[in-house]
């Protein structure tokens, strides 16, 4: 049959069938269209401000590799003046992360972006290899440790760089998976976070051990900051991200974490991919449904009773940690809740056992910048005006959807806005910071410190039994 011609330039052979609208494009037209749409997400959501210093959470995988490449391209093209850095987490998983970090290093050199790597070993005194050796392999516990540790590690890594905004490579398929998982768990309150382009997490990044806290004034020791999280690729199909990487010949690393037994996510993923084969629009429809459903849930993150700007999906500290890999702790709920219950039981049983020192290196939060005053108005305009020729999903969505379009300014948010906990409040709940490490936590001791305490007491196989027995 004669080749289809590209619907945009009408001259080249069509190479891409777009899943969201069945458009047939040649590779160059596809690449420019993809970039225009990401730029549109950024400008219509007012995701960045000119001169903003932004850390790109870089794993070496396809999503973050594409994100880094596109942001670098757009930043230069539109003169946004963004100060981009790559931030990688080294979980300490031999045979997995060491390889993917090599890909990140190559990208860093290729794009000319500085790279900062923070490791679990340095932050917590435990690599994931060591955690797994301690708690056992094959259970769900591994991913829980990894997810809790990752979220703090990204925040602490960002704070160490003086960065207040971390962008991650979550794509539309990831968001659809998360929506499906939350639905299947009946966890409607969590829908909001997974489906919003911006999540904001004010986090205390005072770096210190519990000992250092004793008897010292906290003011001045702790640099509180607000690390914003956003997902510039959340309206991009995974297929298009992979095709963008393919046609631009980007260098990325793809393999599964050797400890990943996330069967539930895997099933959700299979479901999404099967739906896509039959009806590609399903993925974006699931995402939109998740957004709309989130608005109907009272007191949920971003729901009607939440009393905060609709676009800002508050992470409420670490109330919903867990999860692994690409999920970055944005979904998993059940496992962490179980783990928490067990740890609290342990704690009670121990009564006032020996104080465990948590190894978290002291790092000054320096070099924080507020470049808004130095911006030129032209640059400001570039980041807020619409991009020509955009054909963005959001524009075809009913105008009532404001979930992703309100300007983001989070610093003024009050603690009283914190999300109401859905379950009965765990003991010792309060608003504030972890008394050991200073991380924002709704409990006296944050989850990472609780997990570390379990590890440091060398209690055998705690995590695994929690995951299996269910308390």
């Amino acid at each position: 049959m004669p080749p289809h011609l590209c619907q945009l330039c009408h001259t080249s052979r069509a190479q891409i069938l777009r899943p969201k609208n069945h458009a047939r494009l040649c590779a160059p037209c596809f690449i420019s269209t993809f970039e225009i749409e990401i730029a549109s997400t950024i400008t219509t959501s007012h995701l960045f401000h000119p001169g903003e210093r932004i850390a790109i959470g870089a794993s070496g995988g396809k999503d973050s590799t594409v994100l880094a490449s596109v942001l670098q391209t757009l930043n230069e093209r539109h003169g946004w003046g963004l100060d981009l850095v790559l931030l990688s987490i080294d979980e300490g998983i031999t045979g997995y992360r060491d390889h993917s970090l090599e890909a990140v290093k190559r990208n860093s050199a290729e794009l000319g972006l500085p790279l900062s790597i923070v490791s679990y070993e340095e932050l917590y005194g435990w690599s994931m290899d060591q955690v797994v050796a301690q708690v056992g392999r094959g259970g769900k516990g591994n991913c829980t440790y990894c997810g809790v540790f990752r979220r703090q590690a990204l925040d602490r890594g960002a704070a160490g760089l003086g960065v207040r905004h971390v962008v991650t490579g979550h794509n539309a398929d990831d968001v659809a998976e998360t929506v499906v998982m939350n639905l299947l768990r009946g966890d409607l309150p969590r829908l909001g976070r997974g489906t919003s382009v911006v999540t904001s997490m004010p986090s205390a990044v005072g770096m210190g051990t519990g000992k250092e806290w004793e008897g010292k004034g906290r003011v001045g020791e702790v640099a509180c900051t607000s690390v914003k999280r956003s997902k510039p690729l959340m309206w991009a199909y995974e297929k298009e991200i992979v095709l963008y990487a393919h046609h631009k010949k980007l260098d990325y690393f793809s393999t599964e974490c050797i400890y990943s037994p996330e069967a539930f996510r895997g099933s959700a993923r299979t479901l999404i991919k099967n739906l896509e084969r039959i009806r590609p629009e399903s993925i974006m429809d699931v995402v939109r449904s998740g957004i709309d459903m989130a608005k109907l849930v009272p007191n949920a993150e971003g729901g009607p009773g939440s009393g905060k700007p609709e676009a800002v999906q508050r992470d409420a500290g670490e109330d919903a940690e867990g999860g692994c890999g690409g999920s970055n702790g944005e979904d998993a709920g059940g496992e962490m809740a179980q783990m928490e219950r067990k740890l609290q039981q342990d704690e009670q049983a121990e009564e006032d056992g020996t104080e465990t020192e948590i190894k978290i290196p002291t790092k000054a939060v320096n070099g924080q910048r507020h470049d808004r005053d130095t911006q030129t108005s032209a640059t400001a305009a570039a980041l807020t005006s619409n991009v020509n020729g955009q054909d963005h999903d959001r524009h075809t969505h009913p105008p009532s959807n404001t979930t992703t379009t309100v300007p983001i300014r989070t610093k003024q948010e009050k603690k009283s806005n914190r999300k109401a906990t859905r379950d009965t409040p765990p003991p010792k709940q309060r608003l504030g910071q972890c008394e050991r490490c200073g991380y924002l936590s709704s409990q006296a001791v944050c989850k990472a410190c609780m997990l570390l305490e379990g590890l440091n007491k060398a209690r055998p196989r705690t995590g695994i039994e929690v995951g299996g027995a269910g308390g």
């Binding site: 052979r13 590779a27 793809s254 299979t270 991919k273 099967n274 896509e276």
Partner: protein, 105 residues
């Protein structure tokens, strides 16, 4: 013995792990299937499962006799959906690329 068609096949996005951890393979497949019909991509996929895949986890590549959902197929650098999917009849020196989107990072 009928004639064969020379092809370049490539596996990326993690799929190479199933094929001797090698991305590019030069192969020759029979020019017609067992029923005498010209070999198409559907036939190629079956042929790869019988002749080239080294890993026992064939379901990572094929499910229900079709390429597993989440694996992109490119025929001469174009989505196979634009070329007739598994019905596309193989031509000499075609480049067929299989890219998994299923693996994270």
């Amino acid at each position: 013995m009928s004639s064969t068609i020379p092809l370049a096949v490539e596996f990326t996005g993690g799929l190479e792990l199933l094929f001797s951890n090698q991305r590019k393979h030069q192969i020759s497949v029979p020019s017609s299937d067992s029923k005498g019909a010209p070999s198409n991509v559907g036939y190629l996929v079956k042929w790869l499962c019988e002749n080239l895949i080294k890993d026992p986890r064939k379901e990572m590549f094929v499910l229900d006799h079709s390429v597993r959902p989440g694996i992109l197929v490119l025929i001469n650098d174009a989505d196979w959906e634009l070329e007739g999917e598994d019905k596309y009849e193989l031509q000499a020196n075609d480049e067929i690329v299989f890219v998994s989107t299923l693996h994270g990072g």
